[in-house]
Amino acid sequence: MKVLVPVKRVIDYNVKVRVKADQTGVELANVKMSMNPFDEISVEEAIRLKEAGTATEVVAVSLGVQQCQETIRTALAMGADRGIHVLHDGDLEPLAVAKMLKAVVEKEQPQLVILGKQAIDDDANQTGQMLAALLGWGQATFASKIEMGSGEAKVTREIDGGLETISVKLPAIVTTDLRLNEPRYASLPNIMKAKKKPIDQMTPADLGVDPAPRLQTLKVEEPAKREAGVKVADVAELVSKLRNEAKVI
């Protein structure tokens, strides 16, 4: 069974994001970029399936600028077998990404595609569900546990009320939540080995997809700032302020 893992290159989660002065977006120059944390969880899960003998090959796919190859290399260093890079310089929206991933899936014929539930830059939480729709496959989103069966997978999902378990027919889409696993760090020998693993490069045109965004971003602004608060000396002062000043208790 082949597993496909889409990995997105995003601003590292530790970076304090700054809005550009001209309000066209956020500052990307000289900012540390990393693999979307949810995608690290996807890669880890795929590799574990391979280690368990369930998966035979793990293919990492990234769509975007040339440097996405670094993100793919990270997946290869963790243990993915090969990479696919769809080169595109402009902004990509989830629908366009899903369409291109669909074309990749049709070529590669995986039984399972594991995506992150959400990219921490656009916070869209769409791509996996959209890909499932375009392929006509089932979707097990926000997964915290995956049990592979024959022809189906049993997936525990994190939902607002707690946990839900569904059974999904294969081939299927899974999107990962935080509790699915703890991603490994790549070892130095594996980082060296990853340099020799193949990465195929293609373009949106090769996949027959128009990647142009549908939404027009009119402006990007800083959120409203909170007024600086005060420190209270003790619990008594806190309770008094909450009762008499803020009047919230």
Partner: protein, 311 residues
């Protein structure tokens, strides 16, 4: 213009988040219809008809809608969408699961988690964990949108008298089946709609210590939440998580106990009206957003707080 709101419900009651989505729909303008897709869900459909501002309820009742599976609900939404300029759902785990599937089937780029309506085509949404607010304009023929519930007041649950119309079911897609659920049960208010929330972080040290927070919560009529670190460590279940990738809350009062204030946590609570932080590290970033900060050991401060609330 006419807006379809996909209701979240449990077949008997309408989830509060649906009421916030209805308010977003009324701000867009035009008639507001609500879709109730369920099984044995007449009570939910009747409840939807009473929501103020709703002019019509579409009720699809069939076994395949019993558990809100996206593979079954999305084709129904798609079949109905052509009659509407906008299709909305609350940005809950249900809405986030179903709506992008419907959007892709409609060949529409969904707009996730809007926090404001500028006009019928233009919306504001947070990106980068709320560190930036993007104003985006859609030219798709149907706009598919999820709604950040904390950004819109709840519509009145009573006062409307919409007609309930039956909608044809679309059958079982046969791709997924529901196995079961383990839902957290609590007498306390629901986290996302509670007026007061008290959350614990890694500083709580273990699940047992959360009892201290529960005691305070019960005195205040509050819900209990947590940081990711507290959930990952197994102190409390996943549905307690507040943040960028958990729940977004905006209560009157949010009390953060033993939480450092990572950007991903702030994303889920910084729109609260009043924020209190209790942390022993005076440098903790949570103090930068707190209206009232108490630098103290939580194991002393929380029991003291509990006692003070008795007086």
């Amino acid at each position: 213009m006419s807006v379809l709101v996909v209701a979240e419900h449990d077949n008997s009651e309408i989830a509060p988040a649906t009421l916030n989505a209805v308010t977003a729909a009324t701000q867009i303008g035009g008639d507001v219809a609500v879709l109730v897709a369920g099984s044995g869900s007449s009570a939910a459909a009747e409840a939807a008809a009473k929501i103020a501002g709703v002019s019509k309820v579409l009720h699809a009742d069939a076994a395949e809608y019993a558990n809100g599976l996206a593979e079954n609900v999305a084709p129904l939404v798609v079949a109905l969408a052509s009659g509407y300029s906008h299709v909305l759902a609350p940005a809950t785990s249900f809405g986030k699961n179903v709506m992008p599937r419907a959007a892709a089937m409609l060949d529409v780029q969904q707009i996730s988690e809007i926090s404001a309506v500028v006009d019928a085509d233009t919306f504001v949404r947070p990106i980068y964990a709320g560190n930036a607010m993007a104003t985006v304009k859609s030219s798709d023929s149907v706009k598919v949108i999820t709604v950040r519930t904390t950004a819109f007041d709840a519509a009145a649950a009573e006062g409307g008298s919409a007609a309930v119309e039956a909608a044809d079911a679309k059958g079982d897609a046969g791709l997924t089946s529901y196995v079961g659920a383990e839902l957290s049960s609590s007498e306390r208010p629901e986290l996302t709609s509670a007026k007061i929330v008290i959350s614990g972080g890694r500083g709580m040290q273990n699940g047992e210590n959360f009892k201290m927070l529960e005691e305070v919560a019960d005195k205040l009529g509050a819900a209990v939440g947590a940081s990711r670190a507290a959930v990952d460590a197994g102190f409390v279940p996943n549905d307690y998580q507040v943040g960028q990738t958990g729940k977004v809350v905006a209560p009157e009062l949010y009390v953060a106990v033993g939480i450092s204030g990572a950007i991903q946590h702030l994303a889920g609570m910084k729109d609260s009206k009043v924020i209190v932080a209790i942390n022993k590290d005076e440098e903790a970033p949570i103090f930068q957003v707190a209206d009232y900060g108490l630098v103290a050991d939580l194991f002393e401060a929380v029991p003291e707080l509990s006692k003070a609330l008795d007086g």
